[in-house]
């Protein structure tokens, strides 16, 4: 799994951190910071939830390789 973010459009809502605190955090200005662009399988579900929960739609999660499920 590969996670990407677009910080320019981040609204600093904090939804991603609530859903997947091991994958995302916020800097002191509240902007999203990616902690792990290739999260381990036990974080995949949380990362996907963060993707759809983000009100600014700035998180993209894509599958990579066959072991990414």
């Amino acid at each position: 799994m590969k996670v990407a973010i677009d910080r320019r459009r981040c609204l600093s809502s904090g939804y991603c951190v609530m859903e997947a605190p091991a994958v995302f955090t916020q800097d002191e200005e509240g902007l999203v910071v990616l902690l792990d662009a290739n999260p381990p399988p036990d974080q995949h579900a949380a990362a996907r939830t963060a993707e759809i929960a983000c009100p600014a739609a700035v998180i993209t999660v894509s599958e990579e390789g066959s072991n990414g499920a």
Partner: protein
């Protein structure tokens, strides 16, 4: 409230609610922004029209809080835009899933259908030579339909929903001075609030025994919902209905206004629908609906080197921030191809808009339908404005070009 001014603080005297300001706030917002990061308004409050300062304030509710700045009208248990404390997230989470992209997507075709049903008779009248008010006859009705639908409110109640919500918006349009509570607008707003509360109370009671998928059922039956009093549920549900109504209605009206003035832009969007999301977002940066966001100092604070006393009123001027050259290249220009950056139109941080995804969905679906059906049109007469706090063109008279 008096303020002991540090000697370098710029002072201006701006009536944010004058007719001139409401009709064209941009030159004044620019002067405020250029005067400094924090400006004392001799009307009795601090203000800022700079993006960086407003972003900082949104991010630091422990410095400048939303309570009690907004509580007066909506009630202090209301979580949208107000509650800065722990319960905010618990309350927001009740509806967070309902406002997610995946949940909302099915609404898109419904919104196009509603828009189409509203546009058909309007276009017929326009073809007959009539000048119509698209703000009242289309823009105003779409969000009322959508939020009523999501809350499980019966179709025949929608005219009342519009009426209550508009009366509440008028009461909050600002500029009434210290005796605001004596004005007819405020009293009509209070009446609307009471009627809506009574209606919601019936709805809530019904949902207790007949749970559905709607937003009212969701709060009534949520784990945190069970710890809430009926009053708290009413206050939050009422605010949700209000928030889902007035903001989007004005965004849609701004879009119709801009497209009516710029046929070349309309032609470009017509030719490439993929441009719509970014273009509508840029229109909202350029003409944001929420112009004013109030805050109060929490204790004695220092902001940008300026000392403010406990409880001091602070006004964030979001339209000014959205045209800040420190953040945007050529900020006074409407440029749908500019680098995408989040403006403050949906707020920022803890109180960033819960309904942002729904608002965007409504804007894109409605505009797509408008482009499909509406022949070339132009602005056909003097337009009015709803007010400054929640600003949009209304009435917006249009006629076929």
């Amino acid at each position: 409230m008096s303020a002991t001014l540090t000697k370098d603080v710029p002072v201006m005297h701006v009536d944010l609610y004058s007719e001139e300001m409401i009709a064209d706030p941009w030159p004044t917002l620019r002067r405020i922004r250029e005067a400094g990061p924090v400006v004392w308004n001799a009307c009795g409050h601090w203000m800022s029209a700079q993006d960086r300062v407003c972003r900082y304030i949104f991010n630091h509710p422990e410095v400048l809080g939303a309570e009690p700045a907004i509580t007066g009208f909506f009630g202090r248990e209301a979580f949208i835009a107000i509650d800065d404390k722990a319960q905010h997230n618990a309350l927001r989470n009740i509806w967070a899933i309902a406002f997610r992209r995946d949940t909302l997507q099915p609404l898109s075709s419904l919104i196009r259908q509603i828009t189409s049903d509203l546009l058909d008779p309007l276009i017929e009248r326009m073809r007959a030579g009539e000048t119509v008010d698209i703000a009242a006859d289309v823009c105003r009705l779409i969000p009322a339909f959508v939020i009523s639908h999501m809350m499980g409110v019966a179709d025949e109640m929608q005219p009342s929903v519009v009426e209550w919500s508009d009366a509440m918006a008028k009461a909050n349009s600002g500029g009434f001075g210290d005796n605001y509570a004596a004005t007819p607008e405020w009293q009509a707003g209070e009446r609307a609030k009471a009627e809506l509360a009574e209606f919601l109370s019936e709805q809530i009671r019904h949902r207790r025994d007949h749970p559905g998928e709607d937003l009212i059922s969701q709060i009534v039956h949520a784990e945190v919902g069970r710890t809430l009093s009926e009053d708290e549920i009413i206050i939050n549900t009422r605010q949700l209905l209000f928030a889902g109504n007035e903001t989007t209605a004005n965004w849609l009206a701004h879009i119709c206004h801009i497209l009516g003035q710029r046929p070349e832009l309309r032609a470009e969007l017509d030719g490439n629908r993929d441009l719509l999301p970014a273009a509508l977002e840029e229109m909202l940066r350029w003409e944001p609906v929420v112009q004013v966001m109030p805050r109060n100092a929490v204790g004695r604070i220092t902001l940008e080197g300026v000392e403010m006393e406990d409880g001091a009123s602070f006004t964030m001027l979001l339209g000014g921030a959205n045209r800040d050259p420190e953040r945007y290249v050529d900020p006074e220009a409407l440029d749908i191809h500019r680098e995408p950056r989040a403006s403050l139109a949906f707020g920022y941080g803890l109180h960033s808009c819960l309904g942002v995804t729904l608002a965007r969905l409504e804007a894109v679906a409605t505009t797509a339908c408008l482009l499909d059906k509406m022949p070339a049109y132009q602005i056909a007469g003097p337009i009015g404005w709803t007010g400054f706090n929640l600003r949009g063109p209304s009435p917006l008279p249009i006629a076929l070009a």
